[in-house]
């Protein structure tokens, strides 16, 4: 799966995106474990970050599939 990082999130990851190997579907918690291992400083932001799966906000039940494009969405500030 591909992870996309924006705004404050990207300032911490210093990456716009990265691929993480995954052969099996992941829950949000499993995904976060993986992300925080790579970028521990995201832990503080986690409560404010929403996950999006293939361009739509994920719900609590969303399962993330291999091949998905997953975005970490920090609080938005458009307009």
């Amino acid at each position: 799966m591909t992870l996309l990082y924006f705004a404050q999130v990207r300032r911490i990851t210093t990456l716009a995106s990265e691929s993480i190997p995954s052969e099996t579907p992941l829950t949000a918690d499993e995904l976060w474990q993986n992300v925080l291992q790579r970028h521990p400083d995201l832990a503080l932001l986690r409560p404010a970050i929403r996950l999006a799966r293939n361009g739509a906000f994920a719900s609590a039940e969303t399962v993330f599939q291999p091949g998905d494009e997953i975005a970490l969405i920090p609080p938005v500030s458009g307009g």
Binding site: L4, F6, A7, Q8, A52, G55, A56, F57, A71, I73, P74, V76, S77, G78, G79
Partner: protein, 130 residues
């Protein structure tokens, strides 16, 4: 509802290609959100915007559809600028054509509230004051 959405690094023109009002259009409202010279209490020269573009476009369309169910409007034209936007220039333009003004006003106010809640567009930086 006819919906046109555009995210663009170009300046938003003074007269965007707004929805052409038809003979059934009684209200045409346009909104521009302009970059102010003060952010917090610091003078700035502008703001830099970034988007998760495909999702931003989808969210804008989803929000517009949801609002139009409550506030039927005829045509909506939305432009959000990306990249650096100098003070005094528009970061966002909304044009709304509707039969009656109440629908257009409610749509416009509701859209801006939801935009600032759900659309993945961010102010990522400030430009130094001139």
């Amino acid at each position: 509802m006819r919906l046109h959405v555009q995210l663009t690094p170009e300046p938003i023109p003074a007269t965007p290609p707004a929805p052409a009002p038809g003979p059934e259009t009684g209200a045409f409202v346009e909104f521009r959100g302009l970059v102010r010279g003060i952010e917090g209490d610091r003078a700035i020269g502008g703001l830099v915007y970034e988007a998760y573009q495909p999702m931003a476009e989808r969210e804008i369309a989803r929000i517009a559809d949801a609002l139009a169910a409550d506030h039927p409007v005829q045509a909506v034209h939305i432009v959000h600028r990306l990249g650096p936007v100098p003070v005094g220039e528009a970061a966002i333009y909304l044009g709304v054509a509707a039969r009656h003004r109440a629908e257009a006003f409610a749509f416009l106010a509701g859209f801006m509230d939801l935009l600032k809640k759900d659309v993945p567009i961010w102010k990522t930086n400030t430009l130094p004051a001139a």
